[in-house]
Amino acid sequence: MAARNSLGGLNRNSDDRFRVFAILVVISVVLFTISCREAGSGIISSVQGAASVIVSPVRGAGALVTVPFQAVGNLFSNLTAGEATLSELKAENERLIAENAALKEADAASERLEALLGIQSSYDLVSTGARVISGPTDSATSSIVIDKGSLAGIEVGMPVTDSMGLVGQVRSVTPTTATVLLVTDERSGVSAMVQESRAHGEVVGSAAGTLSLAMVTPELTVNEGDLVITSGLGGVYPKGLPIGVVTSISRAEGDLYQTIRLRPVALTGAFEEVLVVTEVSQEQRATAEEAEEAQGQEIGDLAQATDADGPGDDEGESAPEGPSES
């Protein structure tokens, strides 16, 4: 009798479990469908934004907690810099080392802020400073969260820089925070050009955090060490912001374009303070001549593609797309 009761209870539990499972699956699928359809504006996006606002103090605290570890990291770098440095530092007591690390952090922060002000004035950027409060929280995108949102005038699509160069673009905004898609994300695309040769292309990222300059034909000269900057085409990014330095150039047999790898100039993975460019003036956009020049390079690309494929051989042929900004 007891065994029968026990089995009956087990069956009831299993039934309940199936029922709860079915309900939760339906709810989550409905939420997922609505969320995908909303595309960033709707009730679920608002709730997501509100949640982001609620957890932002915790994220901010997390960023603060990591500062001492970064200081220790800097200290470790110094300790391993050389034997002489190592022996000198060993002679100091713990309190002085800790003080030294703290002072170095303050000094570094001051230098970073000065550098940000420097890039702001150098490029005449209309911008707002913000502090990075979190790195990417999921394995889906390469993004960071900053502590400024729509209340500070931040809008989706605004470019973000650090003291060295382009960091990325604002992807979503809440009243007090914003998520920035890094230029190194594989979904990022920035219209760019090589500063020396003015060769136009599109800088694209990868999941590994590397950058490459795409759509540059072989006849355009690109050398290792060349600086790649934003071209200003499309009017999203101000013209002339450094993106990366060319580290390697190659071209396989039959390839239409060169394979150009870049080293990002922005302090990828170590952002602390950034500038959000809130306005791009007419002078910071590409001029009509530059747009024509880029267009001319595209026409050249198309002509070369036709030549390479041979007359009459149009199977699978397509005109290469021009550099685009997302």
């Binding site: 479990r17 949640a51 889906a140 999941a207």
Partner: protein, 184 residues
């Protein structure tokens, strides 16, 4: 005895939820291999379902997924769906598998983590948020799954120890395997 065991399990889950939520917000962003980050919400769902408390584990896993969705940049509902399925599959036996057979429980947890991360990336690709296939596989899915498996170790280890006079994760109280069996 059953009530005591149930209360203890609830306290344990509450402590685990707080730890995993904080880890998700504070640790996960700074712990990465390539583009992969550990998912502590997934770990919470795995652990809770492996300790086996039927519908309650399902509900907790669902809300862990909602928490992840709301604090991440992905569509809401995806992780909630995944964690509900994970909890349903792993918790099918409705017994404390971590306490009774920790190695097998860990193995199953790892398989669930690898599968969940794969489905996550696949679903993102289907809604247009994926990247190139090789990048997604080698730079996001596998590193994230590896970190999940690694992060699962301390949780399984802590919960697999006998808890006669106390409980891991800082929760105190008496429990016994007998009580758990009575519940089943």
């Amino acid at each position: 005895m059953i009530v005591n065991d149930q209360n203890q399990w609830q306290r344990q889950c509450a402590a685990l939820a707080v730890i995993c939520a904080l880890a998700q917000l504070l640790v996960a962003p700074y712990l990465a291999i390539f583009g992969g980050h550990p998912n502590f919400c997934l770990i919470f769902a795995i652990v809770v379902s492996l300790t086996g408390k039927g519908s309650a584990a399902l509900v907790m896993a669902f809300f862990a997924g909602i928490f992840f969705d709301l604090t991440a940049t992905t569509p809401v509902g995806l992780m909630a769906f995944e964690l509900t399925v994970v909890a349903f599959v792993l918790g099918f036996e409705e017994r404390d598998r971590i306490l009774e057979e920790p190695v097998i429980a860990y193995r199953d947890g790892c398989i669930a983590a690898i599968a969940a991360e794969a489905v996550f990336q696949l679903a993102l690709a289907m809604v247009g948020q994926g990247g190139p296939f090789a990048d997604v596989v080698f730079l996001r899915w596998l590193p994230a799954a590896f970190l999940d498996c690694l992060a699962l170790v301390p949780f399984v280890f802590a919960l697999s120890r006998p808890k006669a006079d106390g409980l891991s994760l800082g929760v105190t109280g008496r429990t016994s395997n007998k009580g758990r069996r009575l519940k089943l």
